[in-house]
Subunit: 357 residues, 2 copies
């Protein structure tokens, strides 16, 4: 009696018979008659696979519309091609323009960007870092929240060797690569411009002094006064939340205390609009009687009457610089590398609110 | 001779001996003396686990600071507690406020939100949908890009049974739950207000007619004219990109053609600022000679001179409605359910630019 060798019966699962849900490397392998392992190594640019085979695999992959599952790939290779960005709020032209700069660079390299907001809350920043790590992002770029008082949540990122870049709102408590604008120089130039226009009693609107950008802007303002032989008067420095109402309050505070001032340099555009509104309400002439300069070049500064002088922070450039820094990090071992701190120069935009001559 | 039963030697891996990287359900199980499977079922609120055990597990999890890996959990249960949002751009107060509304609801239910921009490009919208599916989000909320001409990329979302909600910019080509504002009624009210103020030759600034919101706003404008016995004049309807320069161009077009007009109702705030600038440049008095009403209540409309009347689209409400709709969907089978179309009423804000009396 002939004895046939035992052969297991392979069943095609019903689901697969009905519809092929996803094209896999096995389909590519079948298409060109190589093993799945060869396909996988070709797709991952393995040095042992010939250029001819790589090209054949890539062409076949393209032809049958093969799309690797990014998360599955991330679990295998640690590459999701996703970058997580955390900003205090997207509702500021400055931050949304930085994101645009990052995205332009990232998209060119086939990376996707996901944005989260911390709303300046420490707890939200911590939770978002966790969510991004869970989502296996390839890197994280952050502008710190105003209420971020501890930085331990970033240690998890650093320990995993995931590229981390800070932009604009940074801290010196961690060694993290960062891109900032030259806040000191911008404030110096803005104050210097007001002095050139003949203003002598220049007030300064600022916010929480623990935040580096406000420290730096105050420092630039002071130095410009000093270099022009004007004594620094601390009663002309007013702290607020830097919103529209903050600017209104700070202005009333100066007026009520009868502080003589003939100009305001504000570390925020929203606060300078508040000042503009308060001063116009009591018929103070801008720029003849009081000169105004803001900070950030928010779109509305070009729509007010008079139009507002302000500092253009070149947000798109900051974003591009941060992305360039990020892509330099992503393919190199960051251990024992010195921390990189890039500084982008800003531009003073002189409009009607500060031009007496 | 005594024969000891064979016992394999269990080795504690060196890595684990040095540092426990992550607290797992096994640690909770050990802590309270139940099986890991019981812990898992308790954490997932399984009906077969008693309330006492559930409480014990949750207390222990909290005590030892257990944090589930969201992606691992997503792979097992399909729950990442992540919602992906796609907007044309975050650089609009309207969209960022909608996102805030969504996020307020989502955060209260321990869901995280990740935002992506399509920049109105069809290809970016398609690629973002893929990236979100790969990131195993629990749901997707989208405001369509202006150049989205085909909607097949949403079929993958619908076929996987992942909740999908459209807001503001929607299409009737797919049966997708959606939240929009009452564009027709808002435009009707804005036009009616201008007529009440005695304006009779009202121009309308609009954009691509294939987009539903612009169709609806034109329809409301026409109906208000009709109801007040004014003939619709198609030469007073001007299409543009709805940006600042678009508004300037549209205004010059009306002026150059010597079209008599005494008011403009614009479907965009940016375009109405462009009109304001052009008219002021040639010393036309606003609102005495020409009345202006915009659309969206962008912050700068309160900063111009005169301040601009506009339609407040209650963006935060739209966001909250969309999120509520989403959470209703997430726990129910969507098959054979009718499509839900929520409509939020907007608010006309009357400022100086349209008040003659």
């Amino acid at each position: 009696m002939d004895k046939k060798p035992f052969r297991p019966i392979f069943c095609v699962p019903y689901k697969l018979m009905r519809k092929k849900e996803k094209i896999t490397i096995h389909d590519i392998a079948m298409e060109i008659g190589v093993t799945a392992s060869t396909v996988s190594r070709a797709l991952n640019n393995h040095p042992r696979i010939s250029e001819t085979t790589k090209k054949m695999v890539l062409d076949a992959a393209k032809a049958i519309n093969y799309k690797p599952n990014r998360i599955a790939a991330a679990l295998r290779h640690g590459k999701s091609k996703l970058i997580g960005i955390i900003v205090p709020t997207i509702n500021r032209n400055f931050f949304s323009s930085i994101v645009r700069g990052i995205e332009e660079q990232a998209n060119a390299l086939d990376y996707k960007v996901m944005i989260s907001q911390s709303y300046d809350e420490y707890e939200k920043e911590v939770a978002t870092i966790e969510a991004l790590l869970d989502a296996r992002v390839d890197g994280i770029m952050v502008s710190l929240g105003k209420n971020t008082h501890s930085f331990e949540h970033f240690n998890a990122v650093l320990q995993k060797g995931i590229p981390l870049v800070f932009f604009d709102r940074t801290t010196d408590e961690l060694n993290v690569n960062q891109v900032t604008i030259n806040d000191y120089l911008s404030a110096y130039q803005a104050t210097h411009h007001l002095l050139e226009q003949g203003y002598r009693h220049i007030a300064h609107f600022t916010s929480h002094m623990k935040i580096r950008i406000y420290q730096e802007r105050l420092r630039g303002y002071k130095q410009a006064l000093l270099d022009n032989g004007i004594n620094f008067d601390p009663t002309l420095v007013v702290e607020s939340n830097m919103q529209l109402d903050g600017g209104q309050k700070s202005t009333r505070q100066l007026l009520d205390k009868n502080q003589g001032f003939d100009a305001i340099f504000s570390a925020s555009d929203y606060a300078i609009v508040g000042a503009l509104q308060e001063l116009k309400r009591i018929n103070v002439k801008i720029p003849q009687e009081v000169g105004l300069v803001g900070f950030s070049n928010e779109p509305f500064t070009a729509f007010t009457e008079p139009t507002l002088s302000t500092v253009d922070q070149k947000a798109v450039s900051i974003g591009k610089s941060a992305a360039t820094l990020f892509f330099e990090m992503i393919n190199t071992d960051q251990k024992n590398k010195p921390t990189v701190k890039k500084v982008v120069d800003a531009n003073l935009i002189i409009r009607a609110s500060s031009q007496r001559f």
